[in-house]
Amino acid sequence: MRAARSAIPFAAPLLVLFTGLVHAGPVKIGVLETLSGPQASTGIAYRAAVRYAVDKLNAEGGWNGAPVQLLEYDNQGGPAGASDKLKAAVADGVQIVVQGGSSAIGGQITEDVRKHNLRNPGQEIVYINVGAEALELTGEKCNFHHFRFAGNAQVRTKALVQAMKQANVLGTKVYSINQNYSWGQDMERSIEENAGPGGYQVVAKTLHDVNKIQDFAPYVAKISASGADTVITGNWSNDLLLMMKASKAAGLKVRFGTVFLDQVGNIANAGDQAVGHYVAQTFNPEAAGEEGAKFVASYKAKTGRVPVATEPQTVFGLEMVADALRRTKPKAGSLDVNAFARNLETTKLKTPMGESSMRASDHQVLLPLVVSTVSADAKYKADDTALGFKPVKTFTAEEAAVPAQGNCKMQRPG
């Protein structure tokens, strides 16, 4: 009895805290990105894009007459940090969490969000995934409160293979080299699955440690020994650069089909070694035409940089969020997350690249893709160099799409 009474002073503030959560006024969006440490450059780019989109939403009137609040959390580059900061965000009243920087972190957030929503009915939160491309997030881990606004290994590889085949640069022998974690393994599987339609044979496959290898020469020796014409890889950052440099240094005559060659700094560092290699992008200003030019100019005016790599897809993703918000009527003055999520399932958006829409069955966005090659003829140059990404072929959202994965069994709230 005494113990129970002494617990009251502690419990009371907690109760106040929880009841306070239910009646949160303005919508709060939390960015949960890597803002410090080695991978900070990736996270900061996502944050810039989210800020741009939220500013735009507020300039157009916000939600329910009030501006949307943007809160920023540093996940410190790992799932553990993300998990902690997600709790902090929930305590701050965040209802919409945005992240994109890593599939490992994305996997943690989607699980935490699912558990939180199971335990706190009526106080759901939703995870807006703008860049974590691992297939399991829309496959076995798919859940009603997760939405992906980026591509994935299947759509990227499909577009890459088709465009390279049409441009007659694919050859018949493909070498698959990827990083040994969920994303790289997805890429390897997709490269094999596309062997039939692409008319090639996967001569060898390699999975290697992520961002630990300084010297890619032994891998290049393997590629050389396999006699491959083309290397398809999902590698990003240093692993991609070092591999291209090593193959160039070895005088290897192979073409690279990549996914992340358009990250900032890659073209500056690789220089001429990148010429003639291919990349599957979610946005290319030259392919997007006049609308693209307008978007680039507006983004540059706001942030001081042109949008590259994952920034455009993040902006378009948040614009779809804004659209769904507008269609969600407030319930007792605050946002009903489940109603918002249902509206997000039916969102269509006209982006400069074409129409994007959300697929309700697995919450994977269907978005247009463009395959480009590094060339001096490109209209928009990258990294202040003489080189840029020249579009080779664009795909509409339907052309780029692949069917939803069979292992996605989505539980919908009643």
């Binding site: 290697h208 020469a217 032994p218 240093n238 240094a249 070895a250 700094g265």
Partner: protein, 294 residues
């Protein structure tokens, strides 16, 4: 492996220096900034000198103050320093890799092996590493300076009593160490990538090499770096997994279907092998390959 040159110095300095890899990064960035003004060759040399200068300043004004408190303080100080250097680099040069490349004049093949060319720059890097090793070895083993340095490190009191300026020697050794790391960075930064994470990328491997080779042993570091280089390179080419071992006794299909650890290919572990080697060394021979008996 290029880290050979870098690690050689590291072992003998007597201070646990977490910031050593940061000097490597500084060297690369100095050379990158200077190459446009004075050309590639002079830029590399000057970058080494500048890194050494920073090293001298660090020793004189920071390390000297904490030296008397022992290794833990030195370690913490240099650990903090490595963060400060990395953040400063990010502030000045941005978060992304910079445009630091091998000059066109050095970008050709030395010879061809089968279908593959061997870049001349790689020969050059190895040459620099070997020259560094040879110069250090000769300097320490056969000259008067070497005698004084070794004396100052192992018996500082005695050396001081004999009239040598031990503080100056320490400053000099640290400066030379930093300069050599800078030189390695300036040379390697062009071949690999020059980005704000490069210190982190080589830093861990540096420690592995030093532990495997034996703390304080130049020859040990050399042998360890070669050993690690060869093991990782060879491992990349080995596509075997435990399944093949089981297949020898006829349990291949069972192991294949079990999956998990059993189907993990050795080649996908190449970058992790040095750490496994380090563990093995620590278990079997805690002092390292050529280290003193603990």
């Amino acid at each position: 492996m290029v880290s050979a040159g870098l690690t050689l110095v590291f072992g003998m300095m007597g201070v646990l220096n977490f910031a050593h890899a940061s000097f490597y990064m500084l060297g690369a960035y100095f050379a990158y900034s200077l190459q446009g003004v004075i050309g590639f060759g002079p830029a590399v040399v000057l970058a080494a000198v500048l890194s050494g200068g920073v090293g001298v300043i660090v020793e004189r004004f920071f390390l000297r103050r904490v030296h008397q408190y022992g290794h833990a303080h030195e370690l913490l100080l240099t650990f903090g320093l490595s963060f400060i250097i990395a953040e400063t680099i990010k502030l000045v040069f941005g978060n992304y890799p910079v445009d630091y490349r091998i000059p066109a004049a050095l970008d050709f093949a030395a010879f061809t092996l089968g279908r593959q060319q061997y870049p001349v720059y790689r020969v050059l890097m190895a040459g620099v590493a070997i020259a560094m090793f040879a110069a250090l070895f000769l300097l320490l083993r056969y000259t008067r300076i070497g005698i004084v340095v070794r004396a100052a490190i192992y018996k500082p009191r005695m050396a001081e009593a004999l009239g040598h300026n031990v503080k100056l020697v320490f400053m000099g050794v640290f400066g030379v160490g930093a300069a050599l790391a800078g030189l390695a960075g300036a040379v390697a930064g062009a071949f690999y990538t020059t980005n704000p994470n490069m210190a982190l990328e080589v830093g861990v491997m540096v420690f592995v090499v030093v532990v495997v080779g034996g703390l304080g042993s130049l020859g040990g570091a050399m042998v360890a770096s070669l050993l690690i280089g060869i093991i990782t390179s060879l491992a990349v080419g080995v596509d075997h997994s435990l399944v093949d071992v089981f297949a020898l006794v006829g349990a291949g299909p069972w192991a294949q279907s079990t999956g998990g650890l059993l189907t993990l290919k050795l080649s996908s572990l190449a970058a992790t092998l040095p750490f496994a080697l380090m563990l093995l060394i620590l278990l079997v021979r805690p002092g390292g390959l050529m280290g003193e008996k603990a």
